[in-house]
Amino acid sequence: MAVPKPDPQASGQMPRRSLLAWFSSIGLFGSAALAVISNLVFFKPRVTYSPSARFSIGKPDEFPPGTRIAREVDRVCVVRDGNRMAAISTTCTHLGCIVAISDTGFACPCHGSHYDQDGAVTGGPAPKALPWFKVTLAPNGELEVDKNSPVEPGTYFTV
């Protein structure tokens, strides 16, 4: 070549090729990252088909005082003590098995966790107490349990 090549380093400029290589790399790896993220978004379902977390359990009269009934489908135990009512989860906090009502409270068949009447852990590997859920009275006179709204254990709903 007749024309001497200019030395970009000397003038403090980035060579054109390096600049283009940087842009291309950012474009390529950026697209790859976007593809990964959009796949993760794709995998997260927006609609689930499992039963609603909020459901009706019937009128208060159906539960005479002293009742402790495990509703297996809803995975809650409905408790009535006098005129106070509560819903305690029957999903074991250990690994998600369904706990059974026992003489002393609840017992899990999978890994031997035990809970007392209020769901506090009395033995086994369970890391925390069974949660209590909010109970409300719907306008139609039926009790509603909302499993998305845990309440402090010992919080009763007075009927």
Partner: protein, 424 residues
């Protein structure tokens, strides 16, 4: 070739020679009868080119490898074949899956037999991959330059377990449902991302139709594809890392007149390949204690293949794969047990969900992955239980035995409510 040979043969000759021409276009070489032909056959056949032309005698010693890696591969092949066949009758639907299991048992020709083969091969593969890892450790075969292949091997072990785990849900019986309920709950204990991972895996908050579909796709498409690619890399690296590990002492027979040549740049001219291959290149017909792969290695492989298939066939004839009651979301079996290879994990989980299910297993995997970089003692490679490797072998043996003990306790000594029971 002389001029007359270029003359086109007549039509009749072409027809008469058609079979042999087709045959020789597929197989370039006849069955080899001398060393040159043995090399050519290994080089030019697609299925044989995985093999080196020659292998070290140590590679063929049954007591060195015990054939465990090969057995794992053949079990995987059996699993692919039987799995694809089972796919023709299986529907990943909560309402149909269990009925399809009953169909396999009752109406499909060889259905129960194929399912038995698939199930027992899956169990066998988990066991064999684990034993293969033990073999590699106790012979020190993970050391330089094979560190990366060891890491690939650990990944393959995890993939094998995940394959098994995803397949476990598909029959949609009580065993499947509760094992996966417990298993995915363990994933939920991972810090920060645990509940997210569980939700992505199940496609829902509980094990249901979405989970069955996801596990199915992972089991029949995603994981086998990943596993196949990584297995290919695993094999490729065996060749590139200098073949199977062997004792470090190489008898250099200088008195026989043949000198082992070393690559010394500048003194001789070598092909480019000779350089990139590094320390394993040998020049000339060096007495390196190796034999031709055809027929020595191939016969050994055939033997292991026939043995593996025979054992699976016999076991599948004798024992039926378990199928319990259809899923009842309300009533977990008591005790609800995971497959045997996860019972060590489940036993640990019964002490602490986080440490047993996430903490300790993660620590184990990290230790395994970094083993070649922690134990950098170059001695004792290529021999079982080398004295120089006493410490490393003792640590690994202790952890392996501990794992087996946990599995035995979980399998035989745990009864209802996971209380301690005596099997006797």
């Amino acid at each position: 070739m002389s001029a007359p040979a270029t003359k086109s043969p007549g039509l009749w000759t072409s027809v008469r020679e058609l079979p042999s021409n087709v045959w020789s276009s597929i197989f370039r070489h006849p069955l080899p009868s001398n060393d040159l032909e043995r090399s050519q056959t290994s080089f030019t056949n697609f299925f044989l080119h995985l093999h080196p032309v020659k292998v070290h005698r140590n590679t063929l010693r049954p007591v060195y490898t015990l054939g465990l890696g090969l057995i794992s591969l053949f079990l995987f092949l059996i699993l692919v074949v039987t799995g694809v066949l089972l796919m023709f009758y299986y529907v990943p639907s909560t309402t149909q899956a269990y009925d399809r299991m009953l169909d396999l048992r009752g109406t499909v020709a060889f259905g129960i037999f194929l399912r038995n083969m698939h199930r027992w091969s899956a169990h066998g593969m988990v066991a064999m991959v684990f034993l293969h890892m033990c073999r590699v450790f106790f012979t020190g075969a993970y050391k330089k330059p094979r560190e990366f292949n060891w890491i690939i091997g650990v990944v393959l072990l995890l993939l094998t377990l995940f394959m098994s785990f995803t397949g476990y849900l598909l029959p949609w019986d009580q065993l499947a449902f509760w094992a996966i309920t417990v298993g995915t709950s363990i994933a939920g204990y991972a810090p920060l991302v645990g509940s997210q991972i569980k939700f992505l895996l199940l496609g829902d908050t509980v094990v249901g139709q979405e989970a069955l579909l996801r596990f199915y796709v992972l089991h029949v498409a995603v994981l086998p594809a990943i596993l196949s690619v990584i297995v290919a890399i695993h094999f490729w690296r065996i060749r590139k890392d200098g073949g199977l590990s062997r004792p470090e002492t190489v008898p250099a027979k200088t008195d026989s007149g043949v000198v082992q040549l070393r690559i010394e740049p500048g003194k001789r001219v070598f092909g480019l390949q000779g350089f990139v291959r590094g320390p394993f290149t040998k020049i000339g017909n060096v007495p390196d204690d190796s034999v031709y792969s055809w027929p020595n290695l191939l016969m050994a492989e055939l033997f292991v293949f026939v043995l593996t298939v025979s054992i699976i066939l016999v076991v599948s004839l004798a024992f039926n794969a378990p199928l319990e009651q259809p899923v009842n979301v309300m009533h977990p079996p008591n005790p609800a047990k995971a497959p045997w290879y996860f019972l060590g994990l489940q036993e640990m989980v019964s002490y602490s969900a986080f440490w047993g299910g996430i903490g300790v297993p993660t620590l184990f995997v990290v230790l395994l992955l970094f083993a070649p970089f922690i134990d950098r003692n170059p001695q004792g490679t290529g021999r079982w239980f080398a004295r120089e490797r006493l410490l490393a072998n003792t640590i690994f043996m202790s952890l392996a035995v501990l794992n087996v003990i946990f599995i035995i306790i979980g399998t035989f000594f745990r009864g209802p409510n996971w209380t301690f029971v005596s099997p006797f």
